[in-house]
């Protein structure tokens, strides 16, 4: 079926979105922050690669890297990055049940259960990492 356009194109008022549209509403701001978190995710990946690279290059390099990592600016950046990464993780977990509805015996598993299962996995993996580091 084809529709006859309303034919008002040239006369209708077309509002423009302000550059600051994301500051108008808390949910929009959170969204922009989540988008921004990808920069920090990238930084984390880079940092991890740097770690691996410097370890591979021998002790001296690794010492240099540790000096670099303990620079207050880098620590501050990493704390900020960690916060953004956690934020990213939370939103990612909340999204999973939407993207992947899980069914058990023909019944939809409630999204809270799916999210809880992810947190459980998160806690188990984190505990394992902590155990690795500590022992």
């Amino acid at each position: 079926m084809t529709g006859t356009g309303t034919g008002t194109g040239q006369r209708a008022y077309r509002p423009r979105m302000s550059l600051w549209w994301w500051a108008r509403k808390r949910s929009y701001t959170l969204f922009i922050l989540r988008e921004l978190s990808s920069v920090f995710v990238a930084w984390f990946v880079l940092f991890t690669l740097l770690t691996v690279w410097s370890v591979a290059r021998g002790e001296e390099r690794y010492e240099q890297f540790l000096d670099f990592a303990s620079n207050p600016l880098v620590v501050a950046l990493n704390v900020l990055a960690l916060a953004f990464l956690l934020f990213h993780t939370v939103t990612w977990f909340n999204l999973t049940p939407k993207a992947m509805p899980v069914k058990v015996r023909g019944r939809r598993v409630p999204s809270t259960v799916v999210i809880a299962a992810q947190w459980l996995g998160f806690v188990v993996v984190s505990a394992f990492v902590v155990w690795l580091v500590v022992s």
Partner: protein
């Protein structure tokens, strides 16, 4: 409770105005009056030239969506007392061209909707004499939520992606594509794939999630879109690995 409340209504008449302006009207503040009752009061008693759309007054026809105090809402289901003491800002739905006053042009959605083939696509035609196709309540539940869309356009109005890029096919159209993709009677998923994986399709969505918040019928278009992203990714991988597949 005060006995009246101010509605700050957007007025725009293209023959006269260069851009929309606000006009205040005082309407009775009654416990069971919705914003739409206030607009009807204005039209019937104060100013017959105010233009807006409405019809069923029971949240099912999808005509009366507007911005109420900056949020997209069905005005037939938005009570004046919940926005007291006012003034209540009543504006045309955001992200759409304004035709006049509170009337927006939704022609863009009507043009996009057919692109996702929102109808049952079958490989074979079942004659009516064979009776109904079987569909269990569980199979019905797989898509039912996405079939509840009333096309009220609140989701488009809440979506900043659509606001910034009007080529984005949008939440409701994708949810309706999923409504048919997930229907056990439909064979059209492959046909809808190209439109949906187009850059203006699901990948345009950055998951703001506001469409789902705005939806008055709990359709959850954001969920439908994220779900389809997973399907689309799987399809793309499949097309690379399956013999003779290839994109």
């Amino acid at each position: 409770m005060a006995d009246s409340i101010t509605l700050r209504v957007t007025r725009y008449q293209p023959e006269v105005d260069d851009e929309p302006r606000a006009q205040d009207f005082d309407v009775p503040l009654r416990e069971n009056w919705v914003v739409l009752d206030g607009l009807n009061y204005i039209k019937d008693r104060l100013d017959g030239t105010l233009s807006y759309r409405w019809s069923c007054r029971m949240g099912i026809c999808g005509s009366c969506g507007m911005m109420v105090d900056g949020e997209p809402a069905l005005t037939c289901a938005t009570f004046l007392v919940d926005h007291a003491p006012g003034p209540i800002r009543v504006e045309p739905l955001a992200n759409f061209p304004v035709v006049r006053d509170l009337v927006v042009d939704i022609g863009d959605f009507l043009e996009k909707l057919p692109r996702v083939s929102p109808w049952i696509v079958r490989d074979d035609d079942i004659p009516v004499d064979e009776g109904e196709s079987l569909q269990t309540p569980e199979e019905l539940a797989d898509y039912k939520q996405y079939s509840m869309c009333i096309n009220c356009m609140l989701c488009y109005s809440a979506c900043p992606v659509y606001g910034l890029d009007p080529d984005f096919i949008g939440p409701a159209a994708i949810a309706l594509a999923q409504r048919y993709n997930l229907d056990s009677r439909d064979d059209g998923a492959a046909k809808r794939l190209d439109v949906l994986i187009h850059p203006d399709g699901v990948w345009g969505c950055t998951f703001v999630g506001e469409c789902t918040t705005a939806c008055p019928k709990d359709v959850d278009p954001a969920g439908a879109i994220q779900r389809y992203k997973l399907t689309a990714a799987m399809e793309t991988i499949k097309s690379y690995v399956s013999p003779g597949g290839g994109p």
